[in-house]
Subunit: 186 residues, 3 copies
């Protein structure tokens, strides 16, 4: 084989391997057209922390109240939130926006929630909103929800967000890490 032929041969082998490996993987892997990692911080109102609380229970099943989560894994509680979004995992970092919406605890025998909320970003880097929707099996290490739309810098974007519980302090505080991956950018 001459030098040129060898080059082609190597290239060809490489491409073949690539094709095979992706075939064996079973599923296509898509690359986001845009991605960002953000954190948000939730302090639930418990009857004593009115000044600091960023969220509140506003609906509960029969027999439960609005300052203590309901008995069966919080089943039936709806919480409304307005949580600061930060670039790192520090609650006291300068917020780049607010996470606003609701979570609905919806299982009796484990912790799961249905989430409907928006990121309202308002920083030098990002101006606009991102709309999220999805099922959150809270105890799973990471879980995916849908990004169903956006406005401003995120006009018409769609994607998937991978959320992880980055901190959890009982019924008082939790912090979520949100890896936003857009697969449709405009």
């Amino acid at each position: 084989m001459g030098a040129k032929a060898r080059e082609y041969y190597i290239l060809f082998s490489f491409l073949t391997l690539l094709a095979l490996s992706s075939a064996f993987q079973g599923k296509k892997q898509y690359k986001p057209c845009k991605s960002l990692v953000l954190y948000f911080h939730d302090i639930i109102y418990n009857g004593k922390n009115a000044a600091n609380a960023t969220s509140a229970i506003v609906a509960a099943p029969e027999g439960a109240n609005l300052t203590i989560f309901a008995g069966q894994f919080r089943f039936g509680n709806i919480a409304v939130f307005d949580d600061p979004i930060t670039l790192d995992n520090n609650l006291h970092s300068k917020p780049v926006g607010r996470a606003q919406g609701l979570y609905v605890y919806d299982t009796k025998n484990t912790y799961t929630a249905w989430l409907g909320f928006a990121f309202v970003l308002n920083s030098t880097d990002h101006q606009g909103t991102i709309n999220f929707l999805g099922a959150d099996p809270i105890l799973a290490k990471s879980r995916d929800i849908s990004i169903v739309g956006g406005t401003g810098d995120f006009f018409m974007h769609r994607g998937v967000a991978t959320i992880m519980t980055d901190a959890y302090e009982g019924d008082v505080y939790f912090r979520l890490r949100v890896h936003i991956k857009f697969y449709e950018c405009w």
Copy 2:
């Protein structure tokens, strides 16, 4: 006409008819890239069926309570649910996942609801979530809601779901047949 010309003539006639028929139909008909039919089963908590109930009223208008639906066609009730999903219409079939989210009764003079929920599928056939949103005019034989996103096997999918009330037993039990039609697959 020779054999070849006749062939062309037949083909041409066929295409013309096709064009005309679709023109007269008025609207384009799209074919789903993927579709599935599933059922889910809802047993509402009425104060006496705590062991079996899969959903609960968690919000009600002034003067109503959380164990009886509100007086004006349930207007103002929000119910949270975690309902088993089955492949057929049998409540006791092995579930392939859970339907989780909420329905909001939103009309005073007839039965309608706003739905926000996810299918969380976890079977040998399907792993992933499907996110639904839409208006449900409950008394209509069939009604369409939007599929606005998905994860896992349904990564980034969009579509329309046609729901039908497959069984309705007063304020205790209902079963919905959900025909999921994806028009954007990835």
Copy 3:
């Protein structure tokens, strides 16, 4: 220059200007494939207007009730609505459909809401539903929310809706102007 050359020269200058202006604008401008302007009218239940009210508070934070909005900028109130949609800003015009869903007041120190609702259109012009989701900073003159799906005439459509408060009469009545812009039509 001859007449023909002059024409080309003018055209060329015009196109150059157009290109420059859009480059300086920084952001691509998309043209909707379909757009419409509609109004909807909300009369909140306050304990005395049961006959006319089109919406009701159904959830509230601890200590609040269901006939008066909660104290901190309504934070924690969820309202369910079934509002008439009209072509102009007259509450008494013939409705072309209903806006149905919920708004969730989600900030303690200003007026903002998370919206989840559908337009159910049923007129000679439009038959179908449009599904909306998004953050509403109510005091802003205009704000954008996402259109995440549709059915019927709006099958699989996506877009952005610009909403403006067209009238606001205390805690009794408000009217929103909704400029619907679809960027994905089918």
